[in-house]
Subunit: 372 residues, 4 copies
């Protein structure tokens, strides 16, 4: 247990840390970058790199999902985004990229009000599958019951349930809530579910049988949940807490290893390094991939919270387009700010601190040293 | 007791926290927004939402008091403001909104030098009462003895005594100070009194028989008391301390529940969430409501400290007009920065963290995580 | 003793606090401003207000020394400044105020290279004395032996020895250093000496027989000692430490009370409040008085470090001219930023927190709450 | 051991401090600047001042190495920089200084892709040797085996092996890594090696027989390793830790004193003071010397990381040219920001705090007080 702080009479709190609060430190050993492995395996699937494209329309289209797969990463398509609401969303992506800031939220609220068409879910998944890469699609917990059969029938390899906060114990008086445990038990495909930001929430999600847990709460570049909801999940602490749940659950389950996937606040290669250092098995990237010149966001980035009909909690933000998706992942970098050659930087950081694989690197030393 | 810090030999201090220092964290349970209640009851009065418009000329006019009442909130009229000094203050409000920054303080010092006219107190209260909403008016502790009979005769439902710091034990050699305990005992209507910023000050105010205590010390958007007086009341700690006094006083009084109303530093829906998380029963809003297009401040905001004749300790500040008062409270929001749909955001935050009413939500977990 | 922090193996340090790190908090009692006394007495002299104009050419000329004296404060003339090097320094003050930033240091190095003329020391002191106010002049420890006889003969009431750091134990191989103890013992007039920034340094200065100790190390608005020398004396901690030395020395000396004068980092009325709250008996003001329209700096402010011939450690800085010296001290204020009505604000702060004199107010509660 | 912080379940970290987090404090004694010695001796060599020019093309050319030597300091030539790749690098230095920001990295990647010519190593070292100053050259650990014989044959007095992180235990599957211990044992000249950022890493380097250890990890003005690699070595803590290793190694080795050289984050004279206060014997300066009008960088500064072919982790940064190299070291200063008269400021700081030599000054008191 960490030291509790008394905020005032009868109200105590932990200090929680962001990636900006910490840094990795070298050990006494170094290693060649070429001797380092960044391989990540979940269920039957193995990837060259523990990088997942987030299910956001600015990050993953069917085309980028295929491209990411071919580059040894994983792209997750948002099955409630423009690609399942419109036959041809490309003109709409271009329109979003051209909206003036003042009316962007309003127009996006209108665009995403269009209903989801199940046949488009099927079609998008088929497109990706045909390319021969690992297929992953995401639904929100709210719409999972409505659409999951379409998704499963269309044939995904990994099923992602992603909301700002997903709990194993949702209470509703209106409708019977999704019973995650039963749902996952019944499903044939492995499920990755989140966000969770605490040890307890994550432990309960692990007990549902999920293959992976997303750690986060919309804390990313395009989010305003802290101003809007007062909720914030400092990621360094959250990842460490969920990694702690992974260890305890492994013991309690007699050996089931649930993957911890950091999802949020990861904007640079340095943040990827820190996420793994805190215990993540893989990272889900939004803005870091939206910066690619061939990302579907065309220089803009937004999440599902940005177009909520009555309570948007995020924004469409402009991002600098720094390089192609391949250069973003593998370089060569021509700028030195952690936005390109993400995998090269991860490799170099592991080598410099003397570690040879992702699992080992979770044990690297860190220090608390806030950015000045 | 919280950990004391030694500042230097023989001088110790507590670390005190602002709302910006903290954030609410999700628990393992989630809930539907529609299952959440934001109801607040004080004395015989029940409100849909625990939101109170502050007695400031930029926030509450008789018209806004009525509008807030009809929307399930409470507006408190400043009975020492322009509305009780002038027959028709609307041209003056327009003038204040058009003053150049350099001369605003000087002109406001002149405008507020005009005497208070008791018949206008009576008239303003009557206007609000006729609309059928809960009537609340505020006096400063300095002028309470002079005007309270007019106020009570005019018929208020809730009587607010509000100063930057109000103590149960004011010492004066010049005049007999207000004996709060006797005053409240003699009065027929429930009294809300403050600001108090510490456990002891609040406990003494509770013992006077007040129905509610305002927590704060002019720490809001329009205040400069920290630069001017060196005084500051970090609100997260102050609310928790006063909530602690509420609990102890309830025990000592054999069950009297005194409401804790956070008054200051609440600019966004996220701050409302945090105030309640720290133990507040309701929040008194200034700048957050002054941002309404139909607020009386017409895009400006100021408190009584801004026009003190010799020692102004606040400023008239320009605020962005974001939406109508109704949209500020209930949405739909078209910007995502915590300035509109305050009640929707509170509801969503309670739902996301699994709580169903305000009282329960006071127990939600928080973390210390300063804004970067 | 305060909690020590381990910076690294074998190197420990205390956390030290600035005025910006702290704030005063109200207690459970309040008081009328008119019932508050700000009187300060040192040796045979009593002042309406514990405010001292710093011996800096931008703050105190003979004319301002007289004006401050008449307003119940004390102005200390720098006896190594322009007024003792030039017959008529006013054109030079005007020239300094008109220098472009890029050449200001160089020109000031030249202006202050002119030798000090003893007859001008005599003349300046006589001017002030004739006005009937308390006369105080300052020398640096380096030049005290050379000029003190002139000073004493000219007739000062308070003798100030002020350097960035003054110790009771200066070591020099070149010349016999000033023996402070002997010097003070031999002198007829009370001596105020500093700066000191630590308990030990202050205790040793107190043992020399000084009437007052200046707390500080050039930490003010015009100083760059932190960048240049790596030295910094966070004032909240320094004042508390020296106040601790005052208490211990009073015990050890059988009752001699040495005044603690905060000298540095005091830019607003809020800072004056905090300095006294940490234990100061009086405050020495630089920039706060240089802001007066009738201050000799004509909108600029600098200290002796700014014109050191080979290692300047400060700058001539432009300051906003906010009001007359009288309004700066006593108001009325027409801006609300702690730069005018310094005494009114101190009074109000003492009243709001329930204290009635300076000595009592040294016990007021403070909290640690860094400026956001 | 310092207090550990729990970041989250199962992940603990130390708080680490930068130079900006700390300041030196005066003691009770002061001293004359002229009585202070800044002499530094390593192996058979003695320098007037503990200042080393970093092996970076923007800081040290053969000409500046000679100039620094004549001024009592030490300049280390980068033997993998432009001077050993090109017959006449001066036009290329001028070109780098004229590159637009957007293409600087790309062009530098190309310029530094040119092979190193051993005969130029020989020639550059000869030039410096002829001037009669102490000769020091640096190789990276990667190229040490390839070029050290050329270097030794050319005749260096001090051999520097400098990388972002150098460990005594490099692991490589591709080639036999440099066995530092054997290498240093076989070599005739004293070796300075680093960077190391931790107690353990430094202790292992000390055991290789090195005469000095560089403390740092490219944390300087021109580096972006924190954003890129997530690695950061807060220098105050790192220097103290390595000074701790020096003490422990001295015990374990029966008296061998290994010099601790702070290398990174030292931009002003204040930082030099703090580095020594934390235990450094000498400092290696980059940007602080690149600011000289006669530095080879011509107003720009960069390190080897800035031109890495696939993963640049630094930038060419523009620096203000403040004075000649001699004025940077010895003044007189005409600006007061810690960029000129570095040695004078160090001297003054030691005198003000009462210390007379570098070794003693390592014991000066410091406080933790972050820059506001």
């Amino acid at each position: 247990m960490s030291m509790e702080i008394e905020l005032g009479r009868g109200k105590r709190a932990r200090r929680a840390y962001t990636f900006d609060d910490i840094a990795v430190v070298p050990s006494r050993r170094t290693r060649n970058s070429s001797d380092v492995s960044t391989t990540w395996s979940i269920d039957a699937f193995t990837f060259d790199t523990p990088i997942i494209g987030a299910p956001m329309d600015s990050v993953v289209s069917p085309k980028t999902a295929i491209a990411l797969g071919r580059m040894g990463a994983l792209g997750v398509l948002d099955l409630e985004g423009l690609w399942t609401r419109y036959e041809d969303p490309e003109p709409l992506l271009a329109e979003i990229a051209s909206l003036p800031a003042v009316s962007a939220t309003r127009r996006m609220q209108a665009l995403y009000a269009q209903p989801i068409r199940p046949e488009l879910i099927t079609q998008r998944i088929a497109e990706i599958r045909e390319a021969g890469v690992v297929v992953a699609g995401a639904l929100s917990p709210q719409l999972t019951q409505e659409h999951y059969e379409t998704v499963v029938k269309a044939g995904v390899d990994l099923f992602v349930i992603r909301g700002t906060t997903v709990s194993a114990e949702h209470v509703s008086s209106a409708a019977e809530p999704l019973n995650l445990k039963q749902f996952i038990y019944d499903l044939d495909v492995p499920v990755i579910v989140g966000g969770a930001g605490t040890y307890r929430a994550a432990l309960h999600l692990m007990r549902t049988g999920a293959a992976g847990v997303l750690v986060g709460f919309g804390g990313g570049a395009a989010s305003t949940t802290r101003a809007s909801l007062g909720i914030h999940t400092p990621m360094a602490t959250a990842v460490a807490d969920v990694a702690g749940a992974r260890r305890d659950y492994m013991d309690e389950s007699g050996g089931r290893y649930v993957h911890v996937i950091a999802d949020g606040s990861i904007g640079t290669s340095g943040d990827i390094v820190k996420a793994i250092a805190m215990g993540a098995d893989a990272v889900m990237l939004g803005v870091a991939l939206a910066r690619a010149t061939d990302a579907p966001g065309l220089g803009y980035h937004w999440g599902a919270e940005a177009h909520h009909p009555s309570l948007p909690r995020g924004r469409r933000v402009a991002v600098e387009q720094v390089a192609t998706m391949e250069e973003v992942l593998y370089g060569p970098a021509q700028v030195a700010d952690g936005t390109t050659n993400l995998v090269g930087a991860l490799r170099k950081s592991m080598a410099t601190t003397g570690y040879s694989d992702i699992k080992e690197f979770q044990r690297v030393d860190v220090v608390v040293t806030p950015y000045e």
